[in-house]
């Protein structure tokens, strides 16, 4: 039995230790905002925060997350909320599928670096693929979120 605190709410799951956190969140707990894209930590669609650290949940065993705090796209945080606002303002998504992971990765970036440069964004966001190609808008929206936060 593992206990996961997801977006402030406790969940217990019965599953093998090695099950990737992604599938526990999606299939056992039923929060489907976190997406499967590749299963090998290449695309970032499954990005979540564990105790504030950015991880690819498809490649993190459930046992590692046991007892820890997890933030998914269904959750709230100050930076995430500013980013959401900026995402809406910039009309960022196309199909929207990767955006859960993009938003969480961007949240982690702003959590550690309140005023990222373009280069910082490139480094932090290059693990997240958007097949529709919304990168220029994501970059702009991250800057915008900083602006929204500072105002």
């Amino acid at each position: 039995m593992k206990t996961l605190t997801i977006n402030g709410k406790k969940h217990t799951v019965e599953a093998p230790d090695e099950m990737p956190l992604l599938w526990a969140i999606r299939d056992l707990i039923g929060l489907t905002g976190t997406k499967y894209g590749c299963g090998i930590s290449q695309c970032g669609a499954c990005t979540v925060l564990i105790n504030g650290n950015v991880v690819k949940s498809c490649s993190i065993p459930l046992s590692y997350a046991d007892g820890k705090e997890i933030l998914t796209i269904e959750g709230e945080s100050e930076n995430l909320n500013h980013l959401r606002e900026a995402w809406v303002e910039g009309n960022v998504p196309q199909c929207g599928y990767c955006q859960s992971g993009q938003l969480i990765a961007a949240t982690a970036l702003l959590d550690s670096n309140p005023t990222p440069s373009d280069e910082d964004i490139n480094t932090a966001m290059s693990g997240n693929i958007c097949r529709c190609g919304t990168y220029p808008r994501i970059k702009k929206a991250i800057h915008k979120a900083v602006e929204l936060k500072n105002n």
Binding site: A15, L31, T32, C38, Q42, T72, T123, C132, Y135
Partner: protein, 730 residues
Amino acid sequence: MDAIQNMSRRNFVKVFGLASGGLIIGCQFSGTDKVVRIDDGTSFTPNLFVQLKKDGKLVLMASRSEMGQGVRTSLTSVIADEMDADWSFVSVTQATGDSKFGNQNTDGSRSIRTIFEPMRKMGATARAMLVSTAAKKWNVSTSDCKTKNHYVINSLTKDKLFYGDLVEDAMNVEIPTEVSLKDKKDFTYIGKTLKSVDLNDFTHGTAVYGIDARLPNMKFATIARSPSTFGTVKSVDKTATMNITGVEQVVALERVKRPFGMLGGVAVIATNTWAAIQGKNSLNIVWDKGLNGAYDSEKFMQKITNRVHNKGKIVPPIIGNTTTAFSDATQTIEATYQMPHLAHAPLEVPNALAWVHDGKCEVWAPVQSPQTARAEVANYLEMKPENVTIHVTFLGAGFGRKSKPDYAVEAAALSKKINAPVQVVWTREDDIQHSYYHTTSAQYLKGSLDEKGNVTGWLHRTAFPSIVSTFKPMSDYGAGFEFGQGFNNNQFDIPNMRFENSKAEAHVRIGWLRSVCHIYHSFGINSFVDELAAKAGKDPLQFNLDLIGKDRIREDKSPFPLNTKRLKNVLKTAAKKAGWGKKLPKGHGLGLSVHYSFYTYVASVVEVSVINDALKVHNIYTAVDCGMVVNKDTVTNQVEGAGIFGMSVALYGKITAKNGAIEQSNFHDYKLTRMHETPNIDVTIIKSDEVPTGIGEPGVPPIAPAIANAIFNATGKRYRTFPLSEHGLV
């Protein structure tokens, strides 16, 4: 909106009272690719619906799939504009797959083009009815009423009536037989920047994609498919699989030999997706490789390259005489261009949840063509189509892959076999290795120049396994619709032209991918024109403009024939935005490309640098003329995305096969453009009152050749075989 009652009246629209209250207006449109036409005869069956509720909410039923191209937003904006509706009251529901909704196929960049006018008329009709209702209440003439932002306003008294409050009475007013459409200058939404109607869901993880569909007691399945296309199972050892926690069953799945049937294989049924994936990976299967077991894409490329170096089948038209042109020429040049297979790799993998019960089947799936899915599932289950319901979820992109609903058939087949709801999920490896691939191609071009550097002759040979092979095996030559995608209908005014097609057998399933044959034909044509310009010692911009020639409308059967003036205009616009001719930093180069596809005109100028053999794309300037723009931001977003998509094609796009099996498996070896490679993308939309044309695809074809031309401009090196990663540039 299934509780429709009291069908009444005739003409273009119909009005239905709804049990739950509200006004529903339906109209019929003809979703053919040819012309926009309103059918208002007696055999009227509405296939577009809009519902105005008593609380003012306006709900459109979208008949097209949303896969990132913004169609739900664009369609809605058209109706809301003609209704003078307040955007904050507008929402969209998704139609199930049913012929009553007209042609629902979301491909060919046609949604806006075919539904635009019917939607406008429907909105205008609703508005007229609301005005009549209000006029009656006030006892004034309708000409004394105007509408704004969800209200009818009495011009004499300045009184206002909210649309929602008029709903009940509006159901009883006469439907106008003729409505006047707004003057274009009065549009409030059409042509303006509108945000997606789905942003809140996209940013909170609450948009339900196919892979998110859930039913009580559902099972999760993965399928092991033959590494070589159409191979079959010889033997299976499932011992290790059955030892995995969560795995319940291993089920044999037969092949269904329809274009979108299924490949068959061995399915693993489990209580969660991960167990199903582990179970699949633990199967020990011996395959009979079958007919395609020896497919070697590198050897195949050699084979089709040799073929285009020899005479092929003539594809009309033959213009003038290229033999004489070549023998009379001051100089001739020839070049061969090669492109590998590509996979769509939408970020949401193919998946479907199906539940066969009580003689019926329900499917929840991300499909571009719900009616095709319905037909394929009904065929497999031997059910009447009306007993199959396709619930169209959000699509985590499609790019053509999700026009082919083999995954829905798989889910339906498994649900029937195990008598439970089953969700089939393709792993990324399955997606990369068992797709309906974009074809591989070889092209040979030969051109001649006179003493002034004018092009006098043009010979173009193309060879590519045809999409038709998916529908009709052994179709070894290209089809007319494939040639029509930028091959035998190029934009040039050259006195002698000849087109030939060489044989190319398919050894994998061939499908269409965003902009289809335009990808390779644009690559060949735009690269070769750049080579001709260099040979003639001319500036590529002027050379292209001269080659397109004088203003003219090309004579062909197209409903919207190519207008060379519009084509030259996008080219000039993109060049101007890029500062064509400006002095560039050392190692930098500019390249241009122009292409007409899906009735839309697009030109791109790309700035790259190649320093120490490392390629960087700095800027993409794209100008697009897609007629009247419905949603400016959707157009911009699509064209930006096309730039990134085109870069993936040019830099990394490569699917290869060895011994019948695809060599790539996931994003580490089927690479896509990422954030750190993203250039500045500048989009100019040409103002136009022409018919709105496609925007989902046309931005892609110019990108790859513009990059190749820019590299040539920067380095003097010409790359004729894609992707560029093969040349060590990235």
